[in-house]
Amino acid sequence: MPKPNFDHAAVRARCKRYRRRILDISQTVGALHIAPSFSCLELVATAYFGLMNRTGDPETEDTFILSKGHGSLSQFVALEELGVIPTAWLENYCKPGFPLATHPDYGTPGIAASTGSLGHGLGLSVGMAYADKLNGKERDIYIVMSDGELQEGSVWEALMTAPSFGITRIVAMVDLNDFQSLGRTSEVLPNFYPMLDKLRAFGWESEEVDGHDPQAIYDAVTRRSGKKPFILLGRTVKGKGVKFMESVPIWHYRSPNPEEYKIAIQQIEEAGV
């Protein structure tokens, strides 16, 4: 059950801290997925700190799956704040002897499924939601996906299946940053769009919002009817918050050098909350 008194300003402030935290981590490794983590931060943070029912009991609480596993830092910083994963793990990100790396692994605290290969999370979610229905469990499954991921055929198998099976407890959020590795999604596959109509035609309830606006995300998800599975398209900017990273493909994976790091931190600080 979402929190009734949602504090969007707190989520914005949190995302600002998270961006700084991810930039700090970037100085300890040669490469990491900053830009794809920055684009989905508000979606992830609004899920964890507004929408999800977090009881601490895995039998009753809502589930979160980051199907775009390469955005793992966006989830790790939230789990760090929640105390689910220790700070030392993030400070030793991608280091031997510590469990956090580029993609989330099942078995790590707070991680409900191993992701990293795109197109797996939604199928897993359908199975989990089916089991919950079978066992009378009342809980939602939140899943964050990338727009490039929606090019995987397996995603469309899952999109077809979930509403056909009467599954209603999936809330999927698509990080619509319009970028995949080799260019703009809208240019690589122009017929990818319009997306909203396709999703609705497959039997999903779907809305499109500004994916960096926590209040808009919260409102769209809480207003859903609950009669169908729900999928939110969040329009986002890859690398959001650092001007020189925004919509520049190299920052999909590059780590900033010390000079770039300073500028990036400054831009995050100057950005309004």
Partner: protein
């Protein structure tokens, strides 16, 4: 074998609500039909969508279910290979993948329906168990073991229908993961798995009646983990060991037995027979297909008789 699986499955599933059957528009009769009627919510047909079938199974398993995926072997594991590897094996979940018609059993359907490299592919994935029973009774035992005894993912490779009983008089009982003598012998030992074990039994009978060569037959139902110690003991005990397998010449039983022979310093004669490393365009009965692949009982009989003389 299909019916034997279906009935064994039903006996377990009717009493264990964690067990689900997930099919991709292909199903079994017998006990599965009863299960579908009595527990429709646990019989899930995803349609012609095998990635969904395996992904959904993994999702069910993440919630504590014991899902069984069932379709023709090629579609159970080849189409959704990455879901098998990542969703089931990387996460080490109790998903049981049943492949019907392993090998070239679908003899008139062509190469699209021939699972001739399945054991190699499935054995190569960490956490996976690979099981291939030789007859209906072993199918029942392997189905129970897969669902009850083996905690992780399993690939259960089945034949189709009409396989004869080969194990009613077996000197060894079925023990999961162990090689099993199903016909005794002292001179030659033939190792096999799956429905082609019938060919091994026929060749053994002819070697005895026509050549007075005492020939044992061993069912190696567990390809992974392989009973290395049991196979090493057979290599030490028999002067001639033969492997007959309905599988590509790579990554199946034959190469592993040769490897064990080297490691254990075996002194026996060893001959292996497998499918060719080819897509053949020959149609006919299952036997016709095996013959076209060089798995000809007459040829193997003559060669083994010569080897043992």
């Amino acid at each position: 074998m299909r019916n034997s699986f279906a009935n064994a499955f039903y006996e377990i599933a009717k009493n264990d609500r964690r067990v689900c059957l997930v099919v991709a528009d292909i199903t079994a009769a017998a006990g599965v039909a009863s299960f579908q009627k009595e527990s429709p919510e646990r019989f899930i047909n995803v349609g012609v969508a095998e990635q969904m079938m395996v992904g959904l199974c993994a999702g069910l398993a993440l919630r504590g279910c014991i899902p069984v995926a069932y379709t023709i072997a090629t579609f159970t594991i080849y189409r959704p290979f990455e879901q098998v590897r990542v969703d089931c094996c990387y996460q080490n979940l109790p998903v049981k993948l049943v492949g019907v018609g392993g090998g070239v059993n679908y003899s008139t359907l062509g190469g699209t329906h021939h699972a001739q490299e399945d054991v190699a592919l499935m054995s190569a994935i960490p956490n996976m168990t690979v099981i291939a029973p030789c007859d209906p009774a072993e199918t029942a035992a392997c189905t129970k073991a897969s669902l009850i005894e083996i905690p992780g993912p399993v690939y259960l490779r089945l034949g189709k229908a009409g396989e004869p009983d080969l194990t009613a008089n077996a000197p060894d009982p079925f023990r999961l993961g162990k090689v099993r003598m199903i016909k005794p012998g002292t001179d030659v030992c033939i190792l096999s798995f799956g429905p082609i074990t019938k060919m091994a039994c026929d060749i053994a009978a002819r070697l005895e009646s026509e050549k007075r060569i005492s020939t044992g037959v061993v069912s190696v139902h567990s390809l992974k983990p392989l009973d290395t110690a049991g196979i090493a003991a057979l290599l030490a005990r028999f002067r001639v060991v033969v492997v007959i397998e309905e599988h590509a010449p790579f990554g199946g039983l034959g190469p592993q037995v040769k490897s064990i022979a080297w490691d254990s310093g075996a002194r026996c004669k060893l001959r292996t027979y497998a499918l060719k490393d080819e897509f053949i365009h020959v149609y006919g009965s299952h036997s016709d297909l095996l013959g076209a692949h060089g798995l000809d009982p007459e040829l193997i009989f003559r060669e083994v008789a010569e080897l043992a003389s």
